[in-house]
């Protein structure tokens, strides 16, 4: 069984060299470099390949949407980009660091410093105030109290929630909750803002508000990666990668 796995492995990691960083071709710095990424799930007897050798680059300041039907592997790809998981094969460089060979705690540190998550269901701590929720990444980043409050307040101001700082999630509307989540994602000034179906739990009107906020964040220079199955949401991005059956089907700059 083990031999078979090795035989189907795409590439030995030793032949992969680090992509040139930073690039000197006049473009913005390379932030994400995915090289021949495979993700295989061991489901007992059979192995399920969620990703079959995906490669792409993302440069600083890009606004990228990843789309695809359910089961296409886009969630798996998002988890890899967000450093919640590591690839079975292949190399992933995030902001110059080889994430694909990191252990749990190193990944946690990368998530803390480099990635800001925005989830479909917000994923706020129900018992904590908006301010405390936004402070959470700073707490694990070891940033002391006063500095932390200041940064969290700034982040909440950036999403227009200064007057809701002491509210708990159940005292906020869906759109407000998602804005708290966005503030939390931004508070540590991460390399990438990674949003997984950020409007999936919101009504159309609120969805547009949130998408406008992303637009503004993009214009401020943030790198945004949006994972969605909705065409019109994906259309708000500047570049769209379509995933199907674990492979990149299409990668186009639309604006």
């Amino acid at each position: 069984m083990a031999d078979a796995t090795v035989a189907t492995s795409p590439t030995s990691s030793s032949v992969i060299v680090q992509p040139r960083l930073p690039s000197n071709d006049g473009k913005a710095a390379l932030l994400i470099a995915m090289r021949n990424i495979w993700k295989t799930y061991d489901m007992g007897a059979e192995k399920v390949h969620a990703l079959h050798g995906v490669s792409f680059d993302v440069r600083r300041g890009e606004y990228l949407a990843i789309t695809g039907p359910s089961g296409s592997g886009k969630s798996t790809l998002m988890n890899l980009i967000g450093c919640l998981d590591t690839p079975s094969q292949g190399q992933y460089w995030l902001n110059g660091k080889n994430v694909s060979e990191m252990d749990d705690d190193e990944l946690a540190r990368i998530r803390n410093q480099e990635v800001g998550f925005v989830f479909q269901t917000f994923n706020l701590l129900a018992r904590a105030t908006a301010l405390h929720n936004v402070e959470l990444p700073l707490i694990y980043g070891g940033i002391p109290g006063s500095k932390r409050h200041e940064m969290a307040k700034q982040a909440l101001a950036a999403v227009d929630l200064t007057d809701r700082m002491t509210h708990r999630p159940n005292e906020l509307s869906g759109g407000q909750r998602q804005r708290v989540a966005i503030a939390r994602a931004l508070v540590n000034h991460p390399s990438i803002l990674l949003a997984d179906e950020p409007t999936g739990a919101l009504d159309t009107h609120t969805s547009y508000d949130i998408m406008n906020l992303f637009e503004k964040l993009y214009e401020d220079g943030n790198t945004i990666i949006l994972v969605t199955h909705e065409r019109d949401i994906a259309a708000r991005a500047r570049r769209v990668i379509s995933i199907r059956d674990g492979l990149i089907e299409n990668d186009e700059t639309i604006r």
Binding site: G61, D104, D105, A108, F117, G141, I143, G145, D220, G221
Partner: protein
Amino acid sequence: MSMRSDAKAEVPGYASGRRITLPARIRSFPILRITALWEAFLVAAASLRQNKLRTALTLVGIIVGVTAVIAVVTIIKGLDQTVAQTFSSQGSTVFTISKRPRVITSREDFIKYNKRKDITEEDAAAIFHLCTTCWRTGIVANDGVTVKHGNQKADNVNVRAIAPTSMFDIDGVTVDVGRLWSESEGASAHDVTVVGPDVVTNLFPNQAPDRALGQEIWAGGRPYQIIGILQPLGKIFGVSRDNRIYIPFATYKKNFGLNISRGAFSASGVLVVFIQTQTAEQLEAAEDQVRAIMRNRRGKIFSEQDDGFALETEDVFLNLYSRATSNIYLVTIGVAAISLVVGGIVVMNIMLVSVTERTKEIGIRKAVGARQKDIRTQFLIEAMMVTAIGGVVGVLTGFGVAWLIALLIGFPLLFSVWSAVLGVSMSSIVGVVSGLWPAWRAARLDPIEALRAE
């Protein structure tokens, strides 16, 4: 593009975290993670506040264990003090010769001891004359009677009939008001008495103690004149040592008679010889001498095992006491161990429930950068906090129980910081141990799976 890199550089925490990278070992040093540690404390406190009833029920086992330990340690420390004070007043220079030992453990022994000859005044006289290392020698006959004055009555008063008056010194009692009887008064069997303060309180209520002097009290159908009142001795094991009257031995012999059998278990009128040496070092030599004198008087030959009398020091009492207390300690340790183990299992169970309930929260924390250590610490602190609270409550109830018992029995209460620290740290250790596995499980949760939980 330069604007964008500036945006990153203006955050010092971020920049220093990446550019000036400390070695991993130093970075993960707990003191530098104080922010996360404080968060763990807050989260633990909030979680315990939220589940007050659950927390309280979880703690029952721990509280019982700690209470038992604290109460017993406190009580026994108090008793130790009482015992030490009591016996040091008599000192380890005193021993007694009696027919039967004070502690008899079997029926066979009891029958054997009862067949022995009574101790007589002649025995005491022989010891007095022959024992060269003995300093003071006295005889005592004990009895229990009802004492009356007018229509006031005191039951179960200990009558201590003594001779000579140096027996007061051996007993370690001194006169507070009035006087002792003279040797000639004693020898000629005057009906005089020196009484303990309890007797005065009971028979002459609401009167100044010295008013009792010169009054008559009735004991065993005869009147005695109070010529002295003793200084209080206090209680031991809840029994007052001041509810006694002293009368001259000759008077007792005249009025009560010696060695009257009032049932096999009664020690009434049974004579005991008290011997005191000048120093504790002489005690053993004096014991040897007295044993030889008495064996000789009982006609015991060298090879015969049984002396035919009992030679005892207060050590007998002390040994019995320390054996009893060490047994109590053992039982308590057993009770405490069982309740702490059970309590620990309960805490572990609750912590596992807590981990399951908060899987989503763990997922969120991991997503934003909590490391395994952070999650582990959070749950360990929570477990430790629960059990430390249990420890504190246990210490308080333990002291409370000891205080109640001290009130009832009457011994000095010694609250020891040491036992409080022991109680709290013991329960905290239980917390850490029972929190280990749940905390490990929480820390090992896959963030993707955990985020999916509801």
